[in-house]
Amino acid sequence: MIEVKNVCKQVSTTEGELQILDDINLFVADGETIAIVGPSGSGKSTLLGILAGLDTPSCGSVVLNGQDITQMDEEGRASVRAHNVGFVFQSFHLLPGLTALENVALPLELNGDREALKTARNYLERVGLAHRVTHYPRQLSGGEQQRVAVARAFACKPTILFADEPTGNLDTGTGEIINNLLFDLNREEGTTLVLVTHEMNLAARCNTTLQLQAGRQMTPAENSKDTTEKEN
């Protein structure tokens, strides 16, 4: 569950105050999907960062699973991230020295999970990379690397998954595979999905769409689809 009220973000630059986000409001229920769309530079990543607790808003509040993360210190937010949040990034962010398997297992190992490798292998199978577990990122194509990243994100069993233009660096065909994976896993695991994209057809697959234009919310976050669909 994500609840955002009156969030804004200003930063001071050499040219004075810069308003990046202005009065954002939205609500995403557990297991729902939301697309944040808008042109480049409209503040999508900034908003995602604030929602995920990586950054703090200048005003307003963000409540994740009933916890107001804007009232917390960095330690508190880190703990929320550790227990609730997963990420998929545009540029994959795999560690070059680790194999696909180790990349997926790393966050689990950091949490002291004894079954880390087993779980990791399981998720790699689910993204269709069972045969590439011992390969290093540089031996994998971009699409394969992103699939590893998706496996890594889901392996931690987050309640909310944040994806910042996960297909931004990929061609359309490969991007499609990643998108399908994200939606499939989301459905199977019951994860809430926050997806930043500028592809409108992708946004159409989400329950809700939030359109940003120069940091402003163009439409109230609304259900673009019948909520009953996801229960199917």
Binding site: S45, L48, A82, E102
Partner: protein
């Protein structure tokens, strides 16, 4: 253990390579330098120990308390007793006042005695080296005793109540130079002393206690204990004192090893600092990722600290092994240069190596990583968010503290540490300031040059922080290397110069006035040149400040009891330096002559500095001398230090001209006698029996060997440090490589030619190298001046060639290294390059 796993993975990813290699090499260089230095040092000490026939000698005018020997025995330290005295030996009606030396059979503890059964033979095949003295009942004697007593080998001579059989000719005693004797040497067994009955209460006997041990720790603790037991009758003699001319050379050699090792430490530190900086900037992404997963800053710090510790331990251990192997390879390479087998090293080099690794890591790597935990996790979304590294001044300061600590500990010498730090520090500061100016100039000037130049010089300016760090690294390394080479060269030159092939190797002393012409003719008939004749008179000190010399004084120093050589000169002899008081040119000599009263003159006298100290004399003291029954008084007006490096005559007591000429005098000189004319010595001895010939040729040969060994040791060290410098260059070059390769790959994608890409890299790197070389020349010049002045006692000299060689070699070395490194960008497909980054 998880951190170890992470470390191994990071290493596998290739990010640790440079830092780990720097660490390994840093430790390896310091370990191998220390190992080599310590082993060479021990070899030198051993060599000089042989001049003393022991590691340490206590000279005393009385028998030592038995506690000394018991304590030595309990610490497993070998001892040998020597008694030396003058006594008359007889054969039939012939007699001679011989210089007797009674030794225990285990004498000498170090070095060897050369003996022969053929009198006056110089044929090495007929000379035997042994490490024991004569058996009970036998004596080994100076060849010249044979004609003096008209005996041959196998005859027995009488000493007191015993009769001793002459079985060997004594050719050389290892510690011969530490005795001053007039009569022919008779070496006998200590056990024969009681039977001879020559030692009576009140006899003037000098005792020597020789001590040696291979267990350095035990020996040192014994020496400390022993020092607390000594009184004014006893004097401790170390190998350095035993042979002043060697001591000086070895001391400088030792200092050079120290310098080399210290420079190695600094270079290692720079390499590690550069590598750590490089490593840290590569870690920000990973840290941001970890933090986005909710890993707390504290946990991140802990993880990195643990990894650093692992890296420090593993890297240092690997470094120790590599260092050990390295020093063996070096030894192998120079084995024909180092004929002596080197003694093995102690634990110190290992401890130093390990500590270098850990301290460098703490001083350079930890500060470089310190800011990482503060990295904002937001960086996973935005590329431009990079947490600020700890202020580079603070980091620099920490690095300097680490290095200064290491240097001080390593060299145990503030002067060396300061000179190196000052030289490097100034080079670094100058590099930052001048580097900025040069970069700026290059950028502006480059506008007018071709496109490659413009691009390259603009790139350097754009990356100015990195460029500056690189310039500091390069110039530091080049400067330190130049310091090494210069100091090494000037040291070796100086040694070569002072031990010229025709340096005097014989002294002729005690030449009576009526023999002078004869000896002179003999010398010139053999086409030889003397270093000039010095006249001297022999006299004793009888009173100090009007009070007769006491027995205590006589016991405390032999100069109070024997005849001294008093000489005169107008000019200060070459190599002498006035240390206190005055020389003749600043005092009114007439005033001294005017003080003459009732046939007694008061003369000004200049003493050798250390002797004056040992005798307890201060400026203004009046000394009464007795010369052949005549008395005169002298006032000590100054002291001098002597130069023992070249074998010219040195005088402890010098007077102005015109005061001593009336006393019976003898003459002395030094000259070079080539080996093929060595028999001249016999001619002189036969024709002029009272003339004494002091043969230094063997000692000089030994000095030459030692000097050449030390020189070679320095060469090896220089090579090693050069290797270390290249490592620094490597670290500095790789610093900007990721970025450069990326840019090159992009240029390549855009279709740029191989020539353009490599051209840009060549100009950038040789430009950096040129600037660094220029700055390094300045730093090296300054540092060398400091070192020459404060540490090596060398004359100051400027090195114009530096200013050419520095920039040129800098440009060449850095340029080629950079291009070699960036070749990857043009031989591999651009996509592969980009993906590998």
């Amino acid at each position: 253990m998880f951190s170890l796993k992470m470390l191994i993975r990071t290493w596998r990813g290739g990010e640790l390579g440079l830092i780990l290699w720097s660490l390994i090499l840093a430790v390896a260089v310091v370990t191998s330098v220390s190992l080599l230095a310590e082993r060479i040092e021990r070899a030198l000490t051993q060599e000089s120990s042989s001049f003393l026939a022991a590691d340490l000698v206590v000279r005393s005018s009385k028998e030592a308390p038995s506690a000394w020997l018991e304590e030595a025995l309990s610490k497993n330290i070998e001892t040998a007793k020597i008694m030396s005295f003058s006594s008359i030996v007889f054969f039939g009606d012939d007699l001679h006042l011989a210089s007797i030396k009674a030794v225990q059979p285990n004498y000498p503890l170090r070095g060897s005695i050369k003996r022969s059964t053929t009198p006056f033979s110089r044929d090495p095949a007929l000379i035997e080296a042994v490490s024991y003295g004569p058996e009970k009942g036998n004596v080994w004697v100076d060849a010249r005793l044979l004609p003096l007593l008209d005996i041959s080998l196998g005859d027995s001579i009488d000493l007191g109540d015993t009769s001793l059989k002459v079985t060997q000719i004594l050719v050389e005693e290892p510690d011969g130079s530490s005795y001053s004797f007039v009569g022919a040497r008779v070496l006998m067994n200590y056990a024969d002393i009681p039977d001879s009955g020559v030692i009576q209460p009140g006899s003037r006997v000098t005792y020597r206690y020789l001590m040696a041990s291979d267990d350095q720790a035990a020996f040192e603790s014994y020496v400390i204990w022993l020092k607390s037991q000594l009184d004014i009758h006893d004097r401790l003699i170390t190998p350095d004192e035993a042979q002043a001319s060697i001591a000086n050379t070895m001391d400088k050699g030792r200092r050079f090893l120290l310098l080399a090792g210290s420079i190695g430490v600094v270079l290692a530190g720079i390499a590690l600092a550069l590598a750590s900086h490089h490593f840290a900037s590569g870690q920000t992404k990973q840290v941001a990722l970890l933090k986005s997963w909710g890993i707390s800053a504290r946990r991140v710090r802990f993880l990195y600290a643990q990894q650093s510790l692992w890296m420090g331990l593993l890297g240092s251990l690997a470094g120790l092994l590599v260092g050990y192997a390295f020093h063996h390879i070096l030894l192998f390479v120079v084995s024909e240069w180092l004929p002596i087998t080197l003694p093995s090293a102690g634990s110190r080099p290992w401890v130093i190596g390990l500590a270098t690794g850990l301290i460098c890591l703490a001083g350079f790597t930890l500060p470089a990583l310190w800011h990482l935990p503060a990295q904002s996790p937001l960086a996973v979304l935005r590329q431009d968010i990079v947490s600020k590294p700890v202020n580079s001044l603070v980091r620099g300061g920490l690095g300097v503290v680490a290095i200064a600590g290491l240097l001080l500990w390593y060299s145990n010498n503030i002067a060396v540490s300061m000179a190196i730090l000052a030289g490097f520090g100034l080079t670094a500061i100058a590099s930052v300031v001048a580097g900025l100016v040069l970069l700026r100039l290059g950028m502006q000037y480059g506008q007018r040059l071709g496109s490659v130049w413009r691009l390259a010089l603009a790139n350097l300016w754009r990356r100015k922080t990195q460029s500056l760090i690189q310039i500091v690294g390069f110039s530091g390394a080049i400067a330190l290397l130049m310091i090494m080479v210069i100091v090494r060269t000037s040291l070796i030159d100086q040694w070569r110069f002072q031990l010229a092939d025709d340096a005097p190797n014989h002294f002729l002393v005690n030449v009576a006035p009526f023999e002078l012409d004869g000896v002179r003719n003999l010398v010139t008939d053999n086409d030889l040149n003397t270093a000039g004749w010095y006249a001297m008179v022999r006299g004793r000190m009888t009173e100090i400040n009007g009070k007769p010399i006491t027995d205590v004084q006589k016991d405390s120093h032999e100069s109070f009891r024997r005849e001294l050589n008093l000489s005169w000169t107008t000019v200060l002899p070459e190599g002498n330096k006035v240390t206190k008081g005055q020389w003749w040119d600043t005092i009114d000599l007439d005033e001294f002559s005017a003080q003459s009263t009732a046939g007694e003159i008061i003369a000004p006298v200049s003493l050798e500095d250390e002797l004056a100290g040992e005798l307890g004399l201060v400026l203004g003291d009046r000394i009464t001398f007795s010369v052949g029954g005549l008395r005169f008084e002298a006032e000590m007006v100054g002291t001098r230090s002597l130069n023992w490096d070249n074998m010219t005559p040195n005088f402890y007591f010098l007077f102005p001209e015109g005061l001593l000429e009336e006393y019976p005098r003898t003459s002395m000189t030094s000259l070079y006698i080539p080996p093929e004319k060595k028999l001249l010595v016999n001619d002189i001895l036969r024709q002029f029996p009272t003339v004494q010939v002091i043969e230094l040729d063997k000692i000089i040969d030994r000095i030459r060997t030692i000097v050449s060994q030390v020189s070679r040791g320095l060469e090896v060290m220089t090579l090693l440090i050069l290797g270390c410098g290249v490592l620094v260059m490597f670290a500095a070059v790789s610093l900007s490589m990721t970025e450069r390769l990326q840019e090159s790959a992009i240029l390549r994608t855009l279709g740029s030619s191989r020539r353009l890409i490599l051209g840009i890299q060549l100009i950038e790197f040789s430009g950096l190298g040129l600037m660094a070389g220029l700055l390094a020349s300045a730093g090296a010049e300054l540092s060398v001046a400091m070192l020459q002045h404060f540490m090596f006692d060398l004359p100051l000299s400027l090195h114009p060639w530096l200013w050419v060689v520095g920039p040129l070699s800098g440009a060449l070395l850095v340029g080629s290294l950079g291009v070699a490194y960036s070749r990857k960008a043009v031989v591999q497909p651009p996509l592969e390059v980009l993906r590998a980054l």
